[in-house]
């Protein structure tokens, strides 16, 4: 499992599959080594031993339990990363994954409050996707109709989404049996995603991987995917070529929102079972970065999502084994991202 920490093997599809393979691999290795070196300096400044700290961290990621945890963390990240990848192809920056994830979970939980029986789970999944699409739709409607940039509006809507959820769990949806805790009643067993037999991993990961493959196929092999790429490449040219750019942007964003909403509802129905204040723990933002790490290519984005999930899970070791503050893992994640974003791309000279 250590390969997940050192993504050199996945470097080739990410950067340039053709000639510069070795150079790219070299850049990746150099970038990661640089990130880890800086992190080590910080650890030394804090009086921690970087070698044991990092070794403990990597070792902690290899237990069967940790691997299950990584897979479960990765499932919503993969979906939320697809929610960035798909609109990005059309040139849209969906920074609103976080809000769409929350609204997806809210919609799923809402259905869960009123529907029981075998129909509940499918309806929850549909509602989650619709909720996420609606939330993304608000932003893209502003873009298409009055020309407001979607990066700004999706970002703002993240905060509104959080407040919507908090409003619901503090008043109308609060579990009356929950001893005052702000949370919805737990989902019943039939409303939860089943587990893959023999594991603690819920079936959402299958959904996530299928969605990733579907996104890859759509972008690579369909006319719709081609039109998106044309629009993303040059909207003006696309318009002149007769493409209905507004509608394409709308569709791409709605699909993206639906994927993020699905991420929220599988996190709810697979892991959390209740809406509660800290439900998403930055799934949307981390997924945005995963998508960027993979330069908006769907299958590498899956690998990136797994890598960031692994870092998060490995981060537990930073405090359990090394006694460092929990958020230290953010430093490691940020350094790796900066290294990869800044030093592995071909520089577009202007």
């Amino acid at each position: 499992m250590t390969t997940q920490l050192t993504p050199t093997p996945v470097a080739s599809p990410l950067v340039s599959p053709k000639p510069g393979y070795l150079a790219a691999a070299g850049r990746w290795t150099g970038a990661l080594a640089g990130a880890i070196a800086i992190f080590s300096v910080l650890l030394i400044a804090k009086g921690a031993n970087p070698v044991t700290t990092l070794v403990d961290m990597v070792v902690s990621m290899t237990s069967g339990f940790s691997i299950e945890q990584i897979v479960m963390k990765a499932a919503p990240l993969v979906l939320a990363a697809m929610a960035v990848v798909l609109p990005a192809r059309a040139g849209l920056a969906n920074v609103g994954g976080e809000g769409q994830v929350i609204i997806g979970a809210v919609a799923g939980a809402g259905v869960g409050l009123v529907v029981s029986g075998p129909a509940a789970l499918p309806l929850m999944l549909v509602a989650g996707a619709l909720g996420g699409a609606l939330w993304a739709g608000l932003a893209v409607m502003l873009r298409v109709t009055v020309g407001v940039n979607e990066a700004v509006t999706t970002l703002l809507l993240n905060y509104v989404a959080l407040d919507v959820m908090l409003y619901l769990i503090y008043e109308p949806w609060k579990d009356a049996q929950g001893s005052g805790q702000p949370a919805t009643p737990p989902l019943s067993i039939e409303q939860r995603l089943p587990l893959l037999s023999g594991t603690a991993v819920h079936a959402g990961i299958i959904l996530a991987l299928l969605a990733a493959v579907a996104v890859w196929f759509t972008l690579r092999h369909t006319a719709f995917g081609f039109r998106l790429a044309v629009t993303g490449g040059n909207p003006e040219a696309a318009r002149r070529a007769g493409l209905r750019v507004g509608r394409l942007l709308l569709t791409a964003m709605l699909l993206g929102g639906a994927l993020a909403g699905l991420a929220g509802v599988i996190h709810l129905a697979g892991v959390e079972f209740k809406l509660r204040p800290g439900l998403t723990t930055n799934i949307g933002y981390i997924a945005f970065l995963a998508a960027w790490l993979a330069r908006h290519n769907p299958l590498p984005a899956v690998a990136a999502a797994f890598m960031l999930a692994a870092i998060t899970v490995g981060g537990d070791s930073l405090q359990l084994d090394s006694g460092l503050p929990a958020a230290t893992v953010n430093v490691l994640m940020a350094l790796i991202l900066l290294a990869v974003l800044g030093w592995t791309a071909k520089r577009s000279s202007s």
């Binding site: 910080l42 804090k46 040139g91 920056a93 920074v95 502003l142 109709t145 009055v146 020309g147 407001v148 940039n149 990066a151 700004v152 509006t153 970002l155 703002l156 809507l157 905060y159 509104v160 407040d163 919507v164 908090l166 409003y167 503090y170 008043e171 909207p235 933002y285 945005f288 970065l289 960027w292 460092l324 503050p325 929990a326 958020a327 230290t328 893992v329 953010n330 430093v331 490691l332 994640m333 940020a334 350094l335 991202l337 900066l338 974003l341 800044g342 030093w343 791309a345 520089r347 577009s348």
Partner: protein, 301 residues
């Protein structure tokens, strides 16, 4: 009723000041053509540095200076990445935010719960006695008075000085600068760093003048508010000032009402600043982007 209005407006100035510094900083960066979502991170490192240095040296002014330096240094990461490495501005900004969050957590633990001298309110002689306005504007801490000057100063600087012209040109027509032998990248980088320094001052104000404490993640999204505010203000410093107070007022309304025994839904209120901004963006529509610096419009498409 009128005292409720006074309380909300006083609270708006109290709570809007840190946001204003950050938003003015973001204005600098964006007028030069760079969006910096890492502003939240710059505010955080500014808050920690401000509080920690005030605790170590006994001087909140030294803390304020340290906050500016720390905020600027974190923004330097963003500047290097986007100006010279040409990495994506949104992704880099978010990453810089996470970096700030992690660094302040790693090095901030020692200052949680530690006492530090801070800025106390100083009533301005005469002015503070003016009915209503005196209380709203002139019974604050010294950093708040600085903020009253900062926005007009920035407005004047951008409009009327050579430096301001260069910065605006870097954001509008970078190639023109090339022709005249300037290096637009350098100007942009400087604008981002200066913007980060302002955000750091905002963070330091939050920690040493408003909350009188350091706590992990204490900026709680105010840096993101600052970024959205700049667009709402159409990149104009004086509008940024007004917008900051609007946000501050929305944040101040809930406690002002609650202290009178009136509860609106807390979360409806919390969402209000964001909804107002969205509504304004929807109403202004394309005009918001038309006001945007040319180079920035490229980022936003």
């Amino acid at each position: 009723m009128s005292d409720l209005v006074v309380d909300v407006l006083t609270g708006a100035v109290r709570g809007g000041t840190a946001i204003m510094f950050a938003a003015l900083g973001e204005t600098l960066a964006e007028r030069a053509g760079v969006v910096n979502l890492g502003t939240e991170g710059s505010m955080l490192v500014g808050a920690l540095a401000g509080y920690a240095i005030a605790a170590e040296t006994g001087s909140p002014w030294a803390g304020l200076a340290a906050g500016a330096v720390a905020g600027g240094l974190l923004a330097l990461v963003h500047a290097v990445m986007v100006v010279w490495r040409r990495s994506d501005q949104f992704a880099t900004g978010l990453t810089v935010m996470f970096l700030g969050l992690g660094l302040t957590s790693l090095f901030g633990a020692a200052y949680v719960g530690r006492a530090a001298p801070g800025f106390d309110p100083v009533a301005v002689p005469l002015l503070s006695d003016v009915p209503l306005l005196g209380e709203i504007l002139f019974q604050h801490d010294p950093v708040t008075y600085l903020s009253f000057l900062a926005a007009p100063l920035l407005w004047w600087w951008l409009r009327s000085t050579r430096g301001g012209l260069l910065l605006r040109t870097a954001g509008e027509r970078a190639d023109v600068l090339h022709v005249h032998g300037y290096r637009p990248g350098l100007i942009r980088g400087a604008a981002v760093v200066a913007g980060g320094a302002l955000a750091g001052i905002g963070g330091a104000q939050l920690a040493t003048a408003y909350a009188h404490a350091w706590f992990e993640g204490m900026t709680a999204g105010r840096g993101f508010i600052a970024v959205s505010l700049v667009i709402f203000a159409a990149w104009r410093p004086l509008w940024v000032m007004a917008g900051s107070y609007l946000f501050g007022a929305a944040l101040a309304l809930a406690p002002a009402l609650q202290a009178r025994g009136i509860s609106l839904n807390q979360f409806a209120l919390d969402a209000l600043p964001f909804l107002i901004t969205l509504a304004i963006l929807a109403i202004l529509g394309r005009r918001t982007l038309r006001a945007a610096p040319e180079e920035l419009r490229r980022v936003f498409t």
